[in-house]
């Protein structure tokens, strides 16, 4: 499809771009105390974008802009997911960023980047979209200018990101050199039609995985994550933990179904393009990722850092499912991302709102919180247990689908290692609950929270509880979205 024709399928992105520009201009016109209005404007823009996105389900899968991006239900799923996560983050950020209005503009810009990542179909486009997300993220990470930790986080993020992109681009150049193509489906055809040197292909594959792995925090490309998560403002940390990660997963899935393997039209069978043991490599990396994430989380005293390692471990669980290359596993990952969004945002929200009251981000500061702010503590307990994957909470169902996909594909050892990891994670998640309820701190004064805080807490808590007993709508949404454009 040529560029002009493509525009009609690009309405959400165009609207978002227009909304972003309007938000910048409006922000200039507002007085300081009115600046919070930009947040509401950004939320409205996102809401309307989501509305446009939902309508995109009706569109037949097609390639747009000369094959640069595609539009198919899977792309729409990830676009909606990232837009919703940003929408939530807008409300998440309002208490801390009332006057810094350009912050919301940056969030919108990242969303645009993530939406592009969800639908990439060209090597160049992958780099462009990922850099758009990356560059804005660096600014967001360093947003608390007065805090040296925040600046440090930003700088580390930039340097690490630049290096990773470099590695990935290097890998892309191998692929281009082998096939002479940048379009993913052209590459697929070239790989399937002629035999290429598997060693070079494998090297290219590893290099690309390194670049993508940085985005989703796969070991050993995770080093940046704990420092950035700890240093960045908490709303930004929460934002990083879901949206960009989901977008990274989307790129990885695209990459798997085009360059690594071919997929049948119904998404049921995957056939490898070249004999390069990509699955085994991903499986090993998945186990390393979750094991390192969990074991390191065990030793953390700072709750934000613990959550950072926990997010590495969760990336490992999702990678574990992706490694088996079945439609079920892709569906499971999509479902898990939805669940993960609610429980992880919930945990970060509690951390974010409690830190000023508790005066510290140390886990020990949460001692006796169950007696000081019962609702918050109970909610935190629910999020922790859901992250562990205990029934009847949403996290259990999410993990159930991940493990079911792995077991169905008969990768039993991988599943066992995943379960063992879940057991380890119980320790540090339950520890938080333990200090909140079983111990009593010196300070027993009640912590009062505003109704805004409670409302947003319920936005995270209710889905975490409800999706644990009734999840059919979400899983069938994922199933319906499991429909790829195949060139």
């Amino acid at each position: 499809m040529n560029n002009l024709e493509s525009l009609q399928f690009f309405i959400p992105e165009l609207f978002l771009t227009a909304g972003l520009l309007v938000t910048i201009i409006v922000e200039l016109l507002l007085k300081k105390e009115q600046k919070v209005f930009t947040a509401y404007l950004a939320a409205t823009v996102l809401l309307i974008t989501i509305f446009f996105l939902i309508r995109q389900y009706a569109i037949e899968p097609a390639a747009l802009f000369g094959g640069m991006v595609v539009i198919d239900p899977m792309a729409v799923f990830f676009k909606i997911l990232t837009a919703v996560s940003t929408l939530i983050i807008v409300f998440f950020s309002i208490p801390s960023f009332r006057v810094k209005a350009e912050y919301y503009v940056l969030l919108l810009a990242t969303t645009l980047g993530m939406m592009l990542m969800a639908q990439v179909n060209d090597l160049l486009m992958i780099i462009l979209a990922m850099e758009l997300v990356g560059l804005v993220s660096y600014v967001l990470a360093g947003y608390r200018r007065s805090d040296p930790k925040s600046g440090e986080a930003s700088l580390k993020y930039i340097l690490f990101g630049a290096a990773s992109t470099g590695i990935m681009a290097f890998g892309f150049s191998y692929i281009y050199g082998l096939t002479g193509q940048t379009n993913l489906f052209e590459i697929q055809q070239a790989l399937q039609s002629t035999q290429h040197n598997p060693v070079i292909l494998f090297v290219a594959f590893v290099l690309i995985i390194a670049g993508l792995g940085y985005k989703i925090a796969m070991v050993p490309f995770h080093f940046w994550l704990p420092d950035v998560y700890e240093g960045a403002p908490t709303p930004v940390t929460a934002f990083f933990s879901v949206g960009p990660k989901a977008a990274g997963m989307a790129v990885l899935i695209r990459f798997i179904i085009s360059i690594v393997a071919g997929v049948s039209a119904d998404g049921q069978t995957f056939t490898a393009n070249a004999p390069i043991h990509a699955q085994e490599l991903l499986a090993v990396l998945a186990v390393l990722t979750m094991t390192l994430g969990n074991l390191s989380a065990l030793q953390q005293k700072n709750i934000k850092r613990m959550m950072a390692y926990s997010s590495i471990a969760h990336a490992g669980y999702m990678l574990m499912a992706l490694a088996v290359f079945t439609s079920q596993s892709v569906e499971a990952v999509m479902f898990y991302l939805v669940v993960y969004m609610f429980m992880n945002f919930g945990a970060f929200w509690v951390i974010h709102r409690m830190t000023p009251h508790l005066g510290s981000e140390e886990i020990t500061a949460y001692t006796g919180l169950g007696y000081r702010a019962p609702l918050v503590a109970v909610a935190m307990g629910v999020f922790m247990f859901s992250l562990t994957g205990l029934p009847p909470l949403a996290g259990f169902i999410g993990k159930f689908y991940l493990f079911a996909a792995v077991i169905k594909a008969e990768w039993y050892i991988l599943a066992v290692l995943g379960v063992l990891n879940s057991v380890v994670s119980l320790y540090y998640y339950a520890y938080v609950t333990k200090v909140m309820f079983l111990n009593r701190g010196d300070d027993e004064s009640a912590v009062s929270i505003s109704s805004y805080d409670t409302a947003l807490l319920l936005v995270f808590l209710i889905p975490t509880l409800v999706l644990g007993v009734y999840w059919v709508p979400v899983i069938s949404w994922a199933t319906q979205s499991l429909h790829f454009f195949l060139g």
């Binding site: 340097l159 690490f160 590893v206 080093f223 940046w224 704990p226 030793q299 009734y470 059919v472 899983i475």
Partner: protein, 681 residues
Amino acid sequence: MITQALIIWLLPLLAFTIQIFVGKRLPRKGDWVSVSAIGISFMLSIMLMIQMFMAYDPEFAVTAAMPWIETGNFAIPLGIRLDNLAIIMLMVVTTVSFLVHVYSMGYMAGDQYYNRFFAYLSLFSFSMLGLVLWDNLFGIYMMWELVGICSYLLIGFYFTKDSAANAGKKAFITNRIGDFGFLIGLLIVFTTIGSFNFSAIHEGVSSGLLSGGLLTAAGVLLFAGAVGKSAQFPLHVWLPDAMEGPTPVSALIHAATMVAAGVYLMARLSFMLSFDAMLVVAYIGGFTAIFAATIAITQNDIKRVLAYSTVSQLGYMIMALGVGSYMAGFFHLVTHAMFKAGLFLGSGSVIHAMHHSMHKLHLHEDPNDLRLMGGFKSKMPVTYATFLIFTLALSGIPFFSGFLSKDAILGGTLAFAMSQHNPIHFLLPVFGFTAAMITAFYMFRLVIRTFYGKPVRPEIYEHIHESPKQMTVPLMVLAALSIFIVYTLPSFNPTGAAGGWFDHLIQHPHSAVSAQLGHDVLHIDHETEHLAHISGIIISILVAGLGILLAFFIYYWKKADHTRIAQSIRPLYLLSFNKYYFDEIYQATFVRGLLAWNDLLNWFDAKIIDGIVNLSATVTRVFSAVSGLFDLHIVDGLVNGLANVTSLFGNGLRKIQTGQVQNYILGALLGTVLIIIISLI
């Protein structure tokens, strides 16, 4: 209709949620939330009932389902089935529940945990209604456990009292035993048929997917759940103790609804009972009926008499289902729910009055004790009149509802015995008729000792007052519902339900076992049935009359001294008074045995499991320390040297990460290279 049913079901859940979180802060502690929720459910149930009457079709059924769990081949839909059985049961549950809610506003007034009480009542109503509505065993099992939890919470409502807390635990644990059987039965059904849905099970059994010994086993195991919940022998021990809960709870849960859930389950599953399974059900039910009745004679606690009476009547219902009298069993469930709830609420009214009187006199005696009452007739006219009606209904006196249903059961057992070639099955009608006589006797013993004669303790009698309106109005409503006409319309025949709406609407479902075998599981011809019915009426009126006469003879006219009689048959008396020593036997065998086993496990846990756990913890710690050290010393040491790291971070050990971005990038690059090298080797 489905929407209506969903509203009926979910309103109490909403009320529960509101009550448990903000109930305390609401005006009147939020009792109106629960009462209006169940009130609306009650009215909507009436509307469903009207729709059922408009259809007036025995096969009437509406179903709806939506997907719930779906993973590959394993699917459990969420489904609701509204047929005559379910609608009548909804009506029973909402009626009794609504009346008990209203009654509780008077009875529980001023209680410290008033709002919590109503929250639990709402949760119970939700669970019980769900149990009635689900169209599959899985859903029923979930609700089954939920009602169990509500029962536990409400029995132990006065949890500061040891006896109440223990009774709650006893109820819960005893039920677990039955539920375990239920679960296994459920799994047998699912593994053989592949579905929990009733219609799928019906088809599966008809087509022979589940047959022979396994079918009998599934039937008996599912029945084990009913044995626990409906307090049948040998798991009956929890119900009398459950009377530690507040009296409205006894009326709602432990007389009318939850304990009837077992009967309801068996009614739902009667299509899949093989002949052998039916025999087990019939004998357990029949034996429970007479066994519990003999205990009720000697009890002095007014609520305990009623509790044993409930056990006995539940036995009747179970026996009826066992002998294939489907309509009779369910009919007795409905009529019994009304008059037994009435009896409990009536006894609650008496206890309430006793309690207040004793409170005034600063007496610390048991307000439930029959031996302290007497002559309350004039002081509590409404309670007395309604109590008498309930008693007549329970004793099986013509013109009252209990006569219709009890007679149908007794006729059914007679017909069953006559149609079998084995004379031993005449034991069942013998059990039934004897229990009927004993029932009439102990109920009139209760009435005479409470309401007639001279006051035993004049000082208590002085301060007895009629209970408030919230308590007496429900009694009057229930009394009206215990008159025969309610169940026989459009016929006015006081001797049988035949020709009435109930008989028309509730008909035995086609047995799937018969379909599988190709012949009837149980064949009773019309003549036998008719003969059994006629003789059933005559004998049951005779035995009930005899029982009542005997009661008047001993307790009213005092022609014989009851203490002397007890003395002359002392061993039997003690056996009955001590409930056949079942609690003691269980204590000596199961509880002791369990404790010994527990000690053994404890030892095993402390010595062996802990050893393994500690070992693995050590291993994990060492491993994570090693991985920490690896990061710290090797990776960092490679680049900067250990000294540099420690100087940057005073507490370097805590930090796995160096904090230096060049190390990170180097790590990532090294990682990439390592991956490639390792994979290529």
